[in-house]
């Protein structure tokens, strides 16, 4: 009953038909069993279920216009998150890289350091 674990129980909606003990799930399991015995393929049985209960019964929804966002959404989020991370890291690297001191600033810094040192030694 691999198939039954890919079909959603309509009564307790977060269980598969294989897991659920709801009355309807039992009936649907029997229905599936009979259909397998009569030689129907998994795809045919799924079509039978979808024709009656809609894509909702499938735990793995098909890729269609209405479900496109469902399938692509996580990757889209990953791409957006990655983009933000890239830009943020780039900006930070620019901030961390210290600007070169100009000639005057260099001289000023050195003189300050020297006066400091001479004070300490005296």
């Amino acid at each position: 009953m691999q198939l039954a674990s890919e079909l959603r129980c309509l009564v307790c909606q977060n269980q598969t038909i294989a897991d659920s003990n709801a009355d309807l799930a039992v009936d649907l399991r029997n229905e599936i069993r009979e259909k397998i015995e009569s030689g129907m393929s998994d795809a045919e049985i799924k079509d039978f279920m979808v024709a009656r209960y809609g894509d909702f019964v499938l735990y793995r929804p098909p890729l269609k216009n209405t479900t496109l966002f469902l399938w692509v959404g996580p990757f889209l989020l990953l791409a957006v998150g990655g983009g933000i991370l890239y830009v943020a890291l780039k900006q930070r690297r620019q901030r961390v890289a210290e600007p070169e001191l100009s000639h005057d600033e260099q001289a000023l810094a050195e003189s300050l350091l020297q006066t400091d040192q001479t004070k300490e030694t005296t």
């Binding site: 009564v11 309807l24 009936d27 229905e31 009656r52 209960y53 894509d55 909702f56």
Partner: protein
């Protein structure tokens, strides 16, 4: 103020909108793929004494409601008085599909609380229910003259649903 400080506010508002819309949606409401498709055919015994066989082909040429119910279903008892009232208006014939029920229990309920149905057929093993994609009684289908399902109501019909949704649709289908 810098625009970047508005970003958290924008995200917050977007989330608020999503959650607000989410509150309005009913995740238990499964859209029926059977809308605008021919109603599954059935030939079943009615609850009449003595029972007769009713075929869905007999309803051709009229707009009718198929109400899926059972004596064990509490939502159906809630809905029952509404159906009884509706049947008195004679706006549309209501047929019952007594889903996975003991015919004796069902007959007792109809005798006690009134019978809104032109006829109720007995779906003992629930097979016809599966054909109709029934997953929670009560459910009601509006079926047109050509035998096409035009609407599905999941859960009890309330006077509001009748007035705002079902009756206008029945009138439209009758005029067509």
């Amino acid at each position: 103020m810098k625009a970047r400080y508005l970003i958290p506010l924008a995200i917050f508002i977007a989330m608020l909108v999503f959650l607000g819309v989410g509150l309005k949606l009913d995740p238990r409401e499964v859209p029926s793929p059977l809308i605008d498709k021919p109603a599954p055919a059935f030939r079943l015994q009615t609850l009449d004494t003595p029972p007769r066989v009713l075929s869905s082909a007999e309803m051709r040429g009229q707009v009718w409601l198929l109400n899926v119910w059972a004596s064990w279903c509490s939502g159906c008892r809630e809905e029952h008085p509404v159906l009884v009232e509706l049947s008195k208006t004679r706006a549309v014939p209501i047929y019952g599909l007594d889903y996975k029920d003991q015919p004796d229990d069902a007959r007792r309920l109809l005798n006690g609380l009134g019978n809104p149905y032109v006829a109720s057929v007995s779906d003992l093993d629930g097979r016809t229910g599966i054909e109709f994609g029934v997953y929670g009684v009560p459910e009601t289908f509006v079926i047109d003259k050509a035998g096409i399902i035009r609407h599905k109501q999941t859960g009890p019909i309330t006077p509001e649903i009748w007035r705002d949704t079902i009756l206008p649709l029945v009138k439209k289908l009758n005029a067509a």
